[in-house]
């Protein structure tokens, strides 16, 4: 590639941003663009064919999370599913109370939705996390009041990979009669998920993080739970999400879930080995590096480090030139003036948060990829540190 003149190989380590569509998934989708183009709502053979396809997709998606098919609502993606869950509960149950609980380290799709509800008059508690990004269920318990109608805590943290104690929080929510939503966009297909064990009433899923197409996601809605729809229109998706279904997308999402479920035990083991090799290598090869996120309760594919005295984007540009794709929580890469709200909530200083790098592994990665990254990052760090205004001798 012309922008990567020095790349000896191309190593994609940004699977938490998005993943490629698997060939099997693409093959399953293709017939539904032109040949089998029917509208699932139509009363004729074309419609029946499309209806069967989305029923089949629903079956496969629900199977990944241990739900029944009629508990899965298809949306345009994780963001819409988060919005439908949170606004849907808040609007449907505001007669019962106006207090909502979430955490300081949620994805913006959740965080900004709660901030919007604050402007509508809801009271929101944003619980903190510890230095590993772990949320304490007791903080949730203490935050619950008689006015609390919804708790939303993510399952696998998207930046630092910490796996939150969702089952325990769900139990607390249930014992207080409060509905519980979890965003499982980063954990689904990576760690086993059962909506029964997690005690969730609502769970968000996304297709493009697990080798399915972009533009489709899902929301698990426990049977009998009423939500206020967020778009008006036809009676699609159990009257919860108006609009003609994205048939090829749903077919692809279903196939991606089927494959993820079948391969999960072996693939997660393989990713954990690669992850731990990369973490150990960074800590060994580069001085003044910290691991961000929990050392054990961690998504199999997430590595997040802070490289002191450096800013993330400068490292990303150098990595990209060597053919390696990663991401950072620095302000420059978040599109704002502040570094990652997650790293700040974990207690990192601004400058350490600016120097964070996230490497998220996936199916294409091999041990050779890890060796390559461990070979090229140390000299990049050395070069940039020689240019930095800061160093071990000069504190911030």
């Amino acid at each position: 590639m012309s922008s990567q003149p020095n790349a000896q190989k191309l190593v994609y380590l940004d699977h938490s941003a998005t993943t490629p569509v698997r060939p099997e998934v693409l093959a399953a989708m293709l017939p539904y663009f032109a040949g089998k183009f029917g509208n699932p709502s139509s009363v004729h053979a074309w419609g029946d064919e499309a209806r069967k396809a989305i029923d089949d997709g629903r079956e496969k998606v629900s199977s990944l999370i241990g739900a029944s098919p009629d508990e899965v609502i298809f949306t345009s993606g994780g963001t819409e599913a988060d919005n439908l869950a949170i606004r849907g509960v808040a609007h449907a149950r505001k007669a019962y109370g106006n207090h909502l609980i979430t955490s300081q380290i949620e994805h913006h799709a959740v965080l900004h939705t709660f901030e919007a509800l604050q402007k509508e008059g809801f009271r929101v508690t944003f619980v903190p996390c510890d230095k590993h990004g772990l949320i304490d269920p007791d903080d949730i318990r203490r935050a619950i009041t008689k006015d609390t109608i919804l708790i939303s805590i993510m399952h696998g943290q998207n930046e630092v990979g910490t796996i939150e104690p969702i089952g325990e929080i769900g139990e607390i929510a249930r014992s207080h009669g409060v509905l519980f939503h979890s965003d499982a966009v980063q954990s689904a297909g990576k760690v086993p998920i059962s909506v029964g064990d997690l005690n969730v009433d609502l769970l968000t899923l996304s297709s493009h993080k697990i080798y399915g197409p972009k533009g489709v996601g899902g929301l698990f809605v426990r049977k009998g739970l009423r939500l206020a729809p967020q778009a008006t229109g036809g009676a699609h998706e159990n009257r919860l999400r108006a609009g003609t279904e994205n048939v090829p997308g749903i077919v692809g999402f279903g196939e991606a879930c089927r494959l993820a479920k079948a391969e999960l035990p072996e693939e997660s083991k393989r990713l954990i080995e690669l992850r731990d090799k990369l973490i150990a290598g960074f800590l060994r090869e580069i001085p003044d590096v910290d691991l961000n996120g929990h050392p054990i309760l961690r998504l199999p594919h997430n590595v997040n480090i802070s490289v002191k005295y450096l800013e993330g984007e400068a490292m990303l540009l150098n990595l990209d030139r060597m053919g390696v794709a990663a991401s950072s929580g620095s302000a420059c890469t978040s599109g704002s003036l502040e570094p990652s709200h997650v790293l700040l909530a974990m207690g990192l200083s601004h400058e350490t948060a600016h120097g964070s790098l996230r490497f998220s592994l996936g199916s294409s990665n091999t041990a050779e990829d890890i060796d390559y990254v461990l070979e090229i990052l140390p000299p990049i760090v050395k070069k940039l540190r020689s240019m930095s205004a800061f160093g071990p001798g000069s504190s911030f």
Binding site: L310, E311, G312, A314, R321, A331, L337, H350, M387, A389
Partner: protein
Amino acid sequence: MYNDKVMDHFFNPRNVGELENPDGVGQVGNPVCGDVMRITLRINDNRIEDIKFRTFGCGAAIATSSMVTEMVKGLTLEEAMQISNKEVAEALGGLPTQKLHCSNLAAEAVHAAIKDYRQKKGLD
């Protein structure tokens, strides 16, 4: 995201480092925002004879630091004080909009170093 000239200055920065016993030192920026630049100057006969920079920051911060050292080397102090952050960005062929105010402080760093020199000399 960045044009070829910015990338060239980022990957092959000019005048990196720190002068020994500099005549003027200027440091601007804030680690909170993720950009800190330190400029050291050697001044001879009211002209910038040598200049070096060290920068903690993103691609734009490093590229503008490198660019400004090329622009002001050999200029009189009065001329160097006239160079603005905007002109540094223009000399690089432009920067992405979101970089224009946070990572474009290089000219200010030079001005700070000149002021430091003048203060030390009792010229201010």
